[in-house]
Every structure is written in structure tokens, then in C-alpha cells.
Symmetry: C2
Subunit: 194 residues, 2 copies
DNA sequence: ACGATAGCAGACAGACCTGTCTAGTCTCGA
DNA sequence: TCGAGACTAGACAGGTCTGTCTGCTATCGT
């Protein structure tokens, strides 16, 4: 098998290594506390490469968040493929979240975290809003497929539960909140499809 | 009326002015992005006064969060005094939250925000956990007084709703999430006191 | 009257951060 | 073989941050 894409070569490109390092460090320790030097040291990349690839730290941060957004979409959709019944699929979102919040490295929603330490109106807010809109859209579709009378209203409720479970998972360092959210979602779903 | 306490003198003390300035700036823009110079400039206070009063920026941050904790308790308890019926008192928490998330300057939970931009294990985490424990305890008492069969379980559910409403209020810049949370809480309360 | 206390103004040190620039190395295709 | 493109190593500039230190001033209790 010949090397079809850069990602299959022996060593990942500088771009990929930078992105991987930024992802780990920014998520674990925050964006402000992690300096460029830490990122390039972990990536094993020269500073000039970072600036020729991304142009600025802000753009690196944007790329980090866009990567998180893409990863979240694929992970969530992949996790939902386990289920056939539309109701199970809707509740499956909270199963996936429970798995995520149960892992040791979980530090809450990367978009909210980034937003909390940045001033309003930058690229962070953009990606953050896109991610949020996608979540709402997913819940809307799942609610509609599950036969909810008011799918938009149910989606709003589920978003509240999702956010709450995410916060709880971070602050309490366990997945109790996600399981609680799943229970509530079960009740709401039953009430919405009467 | 003579000046009975320092807080009634003509000009607030340097400590109070520093705390007020730190509160505004840290909450509005984040802790890392706001430097000491900004704080003392707004407070109209010399840098030496800051360091002789608080000792370090970390301690100023702790004082800021402790002030927020105290303010939140009094505001919430005061807001609940409007209601007599135990059920109304429980739901009243979400009314107060709706009012808060509706105000223009609302930027989410100051404890979660501070925690999001700090490394683990400092004073921020301490105050944050204390605040969180207080909230859970309040919900437990309210749930018990409202006649819930499993007040601890209901409290867990309400905490999820509260966190979710707080996040939603910040990200969407309105109080829809808080009102949605109130609706869900109504259902949960009904189900818990059957 | 006077000493203690609190506070103001601002220079300064030392660390750290982003971003630029120079110069050398490695790889690979034509 | 050779030249272009990607990358590395690291010095450097300019700014910002926390925290310290030196003087000066005003107020207040005794």
C-alpha cells in the first residue's frame, strides 16, 4: 500500500503534531496558561513552523476548536449507530456523554471553557456557537424521529440537560450527572410523545 | 447619623474599592485577561495597597470568589422569601435564576468560569466546591420541605437543571434555558411527590 | 502636638509571552 | 545532481505581567 495521503506517512506532518499537542495542552490546562513554547516543545516542532502554518496563536486556537467540533460530531454520530429505535437513539446521546464524563481526562466542554477565558466576539465565539447550534439541531432531529409532538421544545429541554450534565461531569469528576440527565430525558420523552 | 462602621464613611476603604473593581473586571473579562494594573486603575488605589491588603493576585481572586459566594447566598435566600408554599419556594430558585440570566451583564457562573481558566487544585477549586455543595444542600432542604420521597435524588436532578440553565443563559444570552429548567423542575417535583 | 496607620504615586526587577528573523539541515522529484 | 520546499534550532525584540521598594501625604486617636 503506497502512501496515499500525508497522514499515512511514517511521521505525522508538523501541522498534525502541532494540532495534537495544542489539543492536549489547551484542553487540559486552558488556552491562556499554555504558551506557544510549551506547544512547540511537545509537538517537537520549530517555532517558525508554527507561525508559517497557522500565522498566529489565535488561529491555532481556532483550529484546535474546529478539530474538537469535528471530533465531537463523528464520535457522537458513531456512538448513536448502536441503536435502531429512535427513542434509544435520543437517549443514546446521554449514554455517550456518560462515557465521556467518566473518563479521567474529562474537563468539561472545550468550547465553553475557551469562551470563559476569552473576550467576547472572537473566533472562539464563532466556533462555539456553531457547535452549540449543531447540538440543538441533532436533538431536534432525534426528537422529531422519536415522534415528539413539539420537537423544538423537547430539543430545548434536552440541551439544558446536556449542558447540565457536562458541567456536573467536570465539577464532580464523575458521570452521575449524565446518568441523572438520562433519567430526566426518559421522562421528558415519555411526556412529549403521549 | 454618625459613622458607625467604616462602610458608612464618605469614601469606601481601599480594600472595598479593590474588591468592587476586581469583581466587575474579573467577572466581565476573566481572571487571566485582567491584569493587576487594570484593577488598581479602576479602583483608584496604589499597587502597594493591593499587595499590603491581599498579598497576591491569587488571594484577591479568592476574595472575589468568596464575595460572589456570599452575595449569591443572600440574593437567593432573599428571593425565596417571596414564597410561602414549599413547592413555590423550590421552583423560585429557577425564577431567581431566570431574572439573573436575563440581565445584560450575565456571563455565567463565576465559579465555573474561574475554574475553567485555572489549573486544578488551587483556592479557586476550594471556593467553587463550597459554592456547589451549598447549592446542593439548598435543593435538598427545599426538596425535603416540599415533601419529596427521595430529596437527595431530586436535589441531584435539580442541580443538573440549574447548571444547564446557567450555561444556556450565558451562551444564548437570554433566560429561555432558565424558564425551560423551571418547567422541567415542575414536572420532576410532581413526579417526586406522587 | 505627634506618632501611628493607611494610602498614593510610580520606578524597577525579573519572568514570561507572542511574533520575527537568520541560518542551517533534510528530503525528494525532475 | 541540483534546486525547491519543508523543517529545525535558537537568538532577538517589544510588550505585559506579577510583585517589591522608596518616598510622600493625609488622617486620626491620644
Amino acid at each position: 500500500m503506497s502512501a496515499a495521503s500525508p497522514s499515512t506517512t511514517r511521521k505525522p506532518s508538523a501541522r498534525d503534531r502541532l494540532l495534537a499537542a495544542a489539543d492536549e495542552l489547551f484542553y487540559a490546562e486552558g488556552i491562556h496558561t499554555v504558551g506557544i513554547d510549551r506547544v512547540i516543545e511537545r509537538a517537537g516542532v520549530a517555532k517558525a513552523s508554527l507561525y508559517s502554518t497557522f500565522g498566529s496563536k489565535d488561529e491555532l486556537v481556532r483550529a484546535y476548536l474546529e478539530g474538537r467540533h469535528a471530533l465531537r460530531r463523528t464520535r457522537l454520530l458513531a456512538g448513536l449507530e448502536r441503536y435502531d429505535d429512535p427513542r434509544d437513539r435520543l437517549l443514546g446521546v446521554f449514554e455517550v456523554l456518560a462515557e465521556l464524563t467518566g473518563t479521567p481526562g474529562f474537563r468539561g466542554c472545550p468550547f465553553y471553557n475557551a469562551s470563559a477565558e476569552s473576550t467576547r466576539g472572537g473566533p472562539i465565539e464563532e466556533v462555539s456557537n456553531a457547535n452549540r447550534a449543531w447540538t440543538r439541531g441533532l436533538f431536534f432531529e432525534l426528537a422529531r424521529d422519536a415522534g415528539a409532538k413539539d420537537p423544538a421544545g423537547l430539543a430545548d429541554q434536552l440541551v439544558v440537560l446536556y449542558d447540565g450534565a457536562s458541567v456536573g461531569g467536570r465539577m464532580d469528576q464523575n458521570s452521575t450527572a449524565a446518568l441523572t440527565a438520562r433519567e430526566i430525558a426518559t421522562m421528558l420523552l415519555a411526556a412529549a410523545t403521549l
